[in-house]
């Protein structure tokens, strides 16, 4: 059953491997997946550990419900101290790895040390081997996965791998599985590279018996019907995540030319419908695929129709790629977006960070802050598609002064470039912002400023704030499973009530990350999607564990608090522009110039924004400095952490 999946402690320096059960009382407190990883990270790292040292631990996990009869329990979570931010590193991806890890007998891996030479782990039916990676080191992410399957003579092996960018220690190298399933944020691929760990391969055939199989299947039918019948998921199943682009770019919610504009005008060639046409042309009409146990099928498949990589197969692009390689560098050409998407997938680099770093450099070049000498003669201007593609390769191989500089991430790069380059770097906690522009949406601005892993939309974004939902609908969603009778507004431009929405979403997303469920199956883009009430039943039918919706909420709150404790220990201070809950000055100083009539002219009111942070801290039980109050820790049972109980 799911509850007998184990935790393995692997020391790559000594080769020592220990396997332990996960006590039920720990499950009740942290559930699994990201929440339990946060507990393990806080307990197994020392304050101030160098992210690239052998003492940093790398955590890889499946959610509690992986490989059960619950829908879309596909997510793999990876955590460590981030080499990009020096704070919490955390990333989450779909695909097929997590269920395979669970079938192989494990839910959590705690990896420390550094192998003497490149290696990979092979995990199969309760066994863990450390194997020589000499035949796969240097290969692309896709080549690596095929090579492992050939070496192990098993086409069903699923692997988490790094590409060349992880090997060259690009600080935003990602971890990948499949063609495009990426644990992209916070540089977890760099951590694997620093440990000489090229891949983690899994193959499992052990049974995960379901506690109440008939009820689990019956309830899952209801769950699937709720998901599959929604408009948002039907659209997503046709166009993939880029479907979001049509809405956000219509009203002016997209960063363009780094952060100069909030809309990418006349970008018809990179609209999802155009990408869909290309995918249809190259892969046929049925070109959408899904992750394990998912009915949405948002994974578009395509072959590059033209250009230097014509005929190469890839998946995506995701919504984020349209921003990273379209709007931000102002390259409005489908071939360019698809080519860049292919390259970062093969190199193993974060789409968002790569596109944002290059777009920032483009703005610096146009301002004269970066010189031609520093770019080795490259005309790094907005709209220069060839320069964009060239810079991706230079970053991966750390080629030239600028390639090497950008590979170290935004803050170190700004220190090397100097002048006022940092002012143009749109980041929070050292991680670049998503390509969305939150100047017209205070709730979303609060989300990116306070997200635990740096600027991010998948930690606490109340995306439905843009749907203009009636207050009574908002109240039904946001007053459950804990009562809330404070303000809630359908108006996306106001500041009142938004901190509660961010707080609720933060706990909602932590909960699905603990369970291993995809966010497209909860209140992220669809207000009528399952949440706490539904998960309580899913957990019970599949594992036999009794959780009330409030128990799940409490565990999620606890997980978020322990992430906060980790960040505070590593130097987070509230107003620090590099390590705090604060936005780049451009949000407060530069108004939106494009978009819907109510969006143009908008910027974030700093005083009201600070009040929102105060209010969010109140909801989270933090003091004015953003530190958990003693009574908060006591209430959540965290006053003794780190407790070293697991």
């Amino acid at each position: 059953m799911a509850l007998n999946r184990k935790i393995a402690y692997i020391d790559l320096t000594t080769g020592d491997i220990q396997v332990k059960p996960i006590p039920i009382e720990i499950r009740k407190r942290f559930i699994g997946g990201r929440g339990l990883d946060a507990y393990l990270l806080y307990n197994h790292t020392e304050k101030g550990v160098d992210p690239l040292s052998p003492d940093n631990v790398l955590l890889i996990s499946a959610g509690l419900l992986a490989a059960t009869c619950a829908s879309a329990t596909t997510r793999t979570h990876v955590m460590a101290k981030s080499p990009l931010t020096g704070l919490l590193g955390s990333t989450n991806m779909g695909g097929f790895f997590a269920p395979e890890l669970a079938w192989a007998g494990f839910h959590h891996l705690v990896i420390r040390g550094k192998a003497e030479k490149p290696c990979y782990l092979f995990i199969h039916d309760g066994e863990i081997e450390i194997r020589d990676a000499k035949n796969i080191w240097g290969r692309s992410t896709t080549e690596t996965q095929w090579a492992i399957r050939e070496e192990l003579n098993d086409p069903e092996v699923k692997s988490l791998v790094i590409g060349p960018a992880g090997e060259t220690l690009v600080r935003f190298a990602n971890v990948m599985t499949g063609i495009k399933d990426s644990g992209g944020r916070t540089g977890m691929g760099c951590i694997m590279g620093s440990k000489n760990l090229k891949a983690v391969a899994a193959r499992g055939t052990t049974d995960i018996s379901i506690a109440y199989p008939e009820e689990a299947l019956e309830f899952n039918k209801r769950f699937i019907d709720q998901i599959a019948s929604s408009k948002v998921n039907q659209t997503q199943g046709t166009l993939g995540t880029p479907f979001i682009w049509g809405a956000t770019n219509s009203w002016g919610g997209v960063r363009a030319r780094n952060f100069q504009y909030n809309q990418c005008e006349y970008a018809d060639d990179i609209e999802p419908e155009r990408i869909d046409e290309i995918a249809t042309e190259t892969m046929g009409p049925h070109h959408m695929a899904g992750c394990f146990g998912c009915q949405v099928h948002c994974r578009a498949r395509y072959k590059l129709p033209s250009g230097p990589y014509a005929g190469k197969y890839d998946e995506g692009p995701e919504y984020t790629a349209l921003g990273a390689f379209g709007a931000m560098p102002d390259c409005r050409n489908a071939e360019t977006v698809l080519t860049c998407n292919y390259l970062v997938n093969q190199y193993g680099m974060d789409v968002l960070e790569t596109g944002a770093m290059i777009s920032w450099a483009m703005e610096l070049f146009e301002l004269g802050i970066l010189t031609s000498e520093q770019t080795d003669g490259l005309e790094l201007r907005f709209g220069n598609d060839e320069a964009l593609i060239e810079m991706i390769s230079r970053i991966c191989s750390r080629k030239g002064w600028l390639g090497d500089t950008l590979a170290d991430g935004g803050i170190p790069a700004s220190e090397k470039i100097g002048k006022n380059s940092f002012d143009y770097l749109v980041q929070v906690k050292g991680m670049n912002n998503l390509h969305s522009d939150e100047r017209g949406t205070p709730a979303l601005a609060l989300n990116v400023a306070t997200a635990s892993r740096g600027s991010d939309h998948l930690r606490s974004r109340p995306a439905i704030d843009l749907y203009h939902l009636p207050e009574q609908v908002l109240r039904k969603i946001y007053s459950n499973p804990v009562p809330y009778d404070g303000p809630l507004s359908s108006d996306h431009t106001v500041y009142e009530g938004k901190p509660w929405q961010v707080f609720w979403q933060e706990n909602c997303y932590m909960a699905v990350d603990c369970l291993g469920i995809c966010k497209y199956h909860t209140v992220f883009l669809g207000p009528t999607h399952p949440n706490f009430e539904d998960w309580a039943k899913v957990i019970h039918y599949n594992t036999g564990l009794e959780f009330t919706p409030k128990d799940i909420w409490d565990a999620a709150v606890r997980g978020n608090t322990i992430e906060r404790l980790f960040n505070l220990r590593e130097g987070l201070t509230r107003n620090d522009l590099q390590k705090g809950d604060m936005l780049n000055h451009r949000y407060f100083d530069e108004p939106c110039l494009r978009g819907a009539p109510d969006v143009v002219g908008r910027k974030i009111d700093k005083d009201k924004f600070i009040q929102m942070i105060d209010e969010l801290y109140e909801h989270k039980g933090l003091d004015k400095d953003g530190v958990p109050k003693p009574e908060t820790l006591k209430k959540q049972g965290l006053e003794g952490e780190p407790s070293h109980r697991l």
């Binding site: 709720q226 408009k231 479907f243 749907y467 009528t528 009539p597």
Partner: protein, 85 residues
């Protein structure tokens, strides 16, 4: 099992609408009901115009703005706001 109480998410399902789209002006969000196959739609509330894509013959979605129209609306709105300040 089948008789179990429906959850909040399931209860909210009746708020879904099919065949309609919302204006992409987030302060308007007017309901638009394009005719089958219609390529453009104009919001009667705020005047913004959009290009329409059909997921299925009964399932429209907004593909993107009619750039010239919406850009003009945005420029006028920005000018007015700057003047008011």
């Amino acid at each position: 099992m089948a008789n179990e109480e429906i959850s909040t998410a399931e209860a909210l399902r009746k708020t879904r609408t099919y065949g309609k789209i919302r204006c992409h002006n987030p302060s308007c969000m007017g309901r638009l009901t394009p005719e089958a196959g219609q390529a453009h739609v104009k919001c009667p509330e705020c005047g913004m115009e959009f290009r329409v894509h059909w997921i299925r013959p009964d399932f429209p979605r907004i593909r993107g703005p009619v750039w010239e129209v919406n850009r003009k609306i945005a420029e006028e709105a920005l000018k007015k706001k700057e003047k008011d300040q």
